[in-house]
Symmetry: C2
Subunit: 207 residues, 2 copies
């Protein structure tokens, strides 16, 4: 069984062993004939799949997470279903944080992704157009601009996640998972968490 999480710019394909990150073109070309279950956040890509890979099975509607959140993206839902208790952090083009407790989604919040967040500084002033210092010290006040920017981003992420995670398990996924997990002692990186949720969606709709 092949599982596929389709985002706005890339698709992530999991064959049970490893995850491949592909463009929509590449993914469709490679897996057109496969038995593939997918979720998709982008309507125009979904239409394209209907034309070019009509055998693929859209499971987006199969399961709804227990939540009071209005309009939670299906990728966030799947990631939440992949964890029973704990905090899921998806650090990609946006950084989403969702809190799960006993199989129920309690809510979550959204920062810009690290790249978009840094771009916002560039838009304010040329002097703030700096790269991320991923190992900036987070327990003492910064003493230069480069650190002041990285500290603002990373200390915010760390402080807020720890505040709401309390003793809960923290699972980090997405392209910037290594940077975010690095600042959260004890956090696990799991790039298959969305697929674990997708498996649950398929299983629950069969039983």
């Amino acid at each position: 069984m092949i599982l596929c999480d389709i985002g706005n710019s890339r698709m992530h394909v999991y064959d049970g062993i490893s995850v491949r990150h592909l463009s929509h073109e590449e993914g469709i070309a490679l897996f057109r004939e496969s038995e593939l279950f997918f979720i998709c956040v982008n309507d125009s890509v979904r239409e394209r799949i209907g034309r070019e890979a009509p055998g693929w099975i859209d499971i987006s509607q199969r399961h709804r997470l227990k939540t009071d959140y209005e309009g939670l993206g299906i990728d966030r839902e799947a990631a939440c279903l992949g964890i029973e208790d704990g905090v899921v952090v998806d650090a990609g083009s946006a950084i989403t944080v969702d809190v799960m407790e006993k199989g129920r989604h309690l809510g979550g919040w959204i920062w810009p992704g690290l790249s978009a967040w840094l771009s916002a500084y560039r838009d304010v002033s040329e002097k703030l157009a700096v790269e991320l210092v991923s190992d900036v010290e987070l327990d003492r006040l910064p003493l230069k601009t480069e650190d002041a920017v990285s500290f603002a981003i990373l200390a915010s992420v760390k402080t807020m996640i720890q505040r709401f995670a309390r003793e809960k398990r923290i699972v980090v996924t997405g392209g910037d998972a290594p940077v975010v997990a690095h600042i959260l002692p004890g956090a696990e990186i799991d790039e298959t968490i969305v697929f674990k949720g997708m498996k649950k969606m398929i299983k629950d709709s069969v039983c």
Copy 2:
């Protein structure tokens, strides 16, 4: 005595009674002939003043704050000099936070301003192009996208400032001061804090 804080896009003029926020053109036209002391973060505006208002007195070099921070902007320095002990938050095109203790600057950090920060979401996805909900609840997890964005920004600002302020006084200045002060119980808004620092710079260089 007229004091003037010149930023990248606006200048802020204080006559001892009220603060006026003007474009560079307006400010120069109105106060060209006045005895005016200024600080300026923008080199091309400084050159322009040299040509168009040659009587104005640049005090940027008169005083250096006690700090180990490299490259602190003169406007941040002046704001810090305006306070002996406490945290200064300047919420403008960027949000700067600086911590002062017994007349010494301990360091600080920088977020994008609220407007630039929100733009970063817009760059990530159309679905995240939302307005700030300035009264979003900050002690419970958000349950819709609009709140999830505002919460991420405002709860980060609140949590981080309170973490480093501890029992210290918090003074907020800048165009978004009302929004930021609203989430920080006990914080004072003072749009003259930079000018208080400038007065100190002038006084100290005379004595």
